[in-house]
């Protein structure tokens, strides 16, 4: 039996709902963001990008995705 799970996470400070997303890897794919140009925090802890396939998300998880921008 297939279930469509809906989860709510706080992504870069904003609450967003996702369907069919179970891991951080799924999230990155659905956002179309390549992990090699960013850093990811899950609940304030920096995560190892090599293991994002096995990092599962649950409701109310806080995700921060950052990259480099121009700065002084």
């Amino acid at each position: 039996m297939k279930k469509t799970k809906k989860i709510k996470i706080i992504l870069n400070g904003k609450t967003r709902s996702f369907q069919k997303i179970t891991s951080v890897y799924d999230l990155m794919r659905s956002l179309k963001i390549s992990p090699d140009k960013v850093a990811i925090e899950l609940n304030k802890e920096i995560i190892n990008k090599k293991i994002i396939k096995s990092l599962y998300l649950k409701n109310k998880d806080k995700i921060e995705i950052v990259h480099f921008i121009g700065g002084g």
């Binding site: 963001i33 140009k37 960013v38 995705i65 950052v66 990259h67 480099f68 921008i69 121009g70 700065g71």
Partner: protein
């Protein structure tokens, strides 16, 4: 003569570091970097725009394989924020050479030296090579060196003020008491300021606003490049001593 700029065992030809903020767009920024001849650029860490994914990326304009990215903690007011930012920066691409800046005053953007010292210690222990933005206080500069900093970066004047070097004496004292590179960070307004910094014996200069906000950023970038080269050459060539009286440039022998 080979006169290389060494930071944490890395060698560079250019002694000018430029910031990548305040430009109209990335393409203007990339062109200005070319004119400046800089091999190191400072970058900031911010949230990815999730909504507009077509927004251009800095890395598409400035190749981190060709130009050394120096992640900076611009906008951090606590040690905690600065540490978080640099740990994230390291995760983006394995950068160990970083610039720490912990601000303490929103109006003048002066560094909070207590938080800065604390962060330098922690980051050095974690294996970071920390270049540190600091006040022009020789005592604090010494403490930073003892905390493991790889470069001392005193301000010339408040960030973005364009006021030029305010305290020649302190900069000279900081330069004379350390083996670490001393890089003037913040406050440069025009090319002559950069030359003076180098003539005081500094090892490099970091400039953002003076280039990015000049009427013609490309020409100003080039002016800064030559200013830094001129100042450095002037410094290492050994200037003449100052005298109160004149000394003729032409010999009197054979005078008619």
């Amino acid at each position: 003569m080979k006169d290389l700029f060494k930071i944490a065992n890395k060698k560079f030809k250019s002694r000018l570091i430029v910031g990548t903020g305040k430009y109209k767009n990335f393409s203007e920024c990339a062109k200005a970097i070319k004119y400046s001849g800089a091999e190191i650029v400072t970058v900031a860490v911010r949230r990815v725009n999730i909504v507009d994914k077509k927004k251009p990326l800095l890395m598409d304009y400035i190749d981190p394989k060709k130009i050394t990215y120096l992640p900076n903690t611009a906008g951090c007011f606590t040690s905690e924020d600065a540490l978080r930012t640099l740990r994230l920066a390291r995760e983006i691409g394995g950068w160990k050479l970083v610039k720490l800046e912990v601000l303490g005053d929103k109006k003048n953007l002066f560094p909070d030296m207590i938080e800065t010292l604390r962060s330098t210690e922690v980051l050095s222990k974690e294996g970071f090579k920390v270049m540190v933005y600091c006040s022009d206080d020789p005592l604090m500069a010494k403490r930073l060196e003892n905390s493991g900093a790889v470069a001392i970066m005193p301000l010339a004047a408040p960030i973005g003020s364009g006021l030029g070097i305010q305290n020649y004496t302190n900069i000279k004292i900081i330069r004379s008491q350390t083996k670490l590179p001393v890089i003037i960070d913040a406050g440069i307004g025009q090319a002559s300021d950069a030359t003076i910094a180098m003539e005081l014996g500094c090892d490099g200069v970091l400039i953002n606003t003076a280039i990015a906000k000049a009427k013609n950023p490309f020409e100003m970038a080039e002016a800064m490049k030559f200013a830094v080269i001129a100042g450095r050459k002037s410094f290492i060539s050994g200037r003449i001593s100052k005298t109160l009286h004149g000394s003729p440039s032409t010999t009197n022998r054979g005078i008619i």
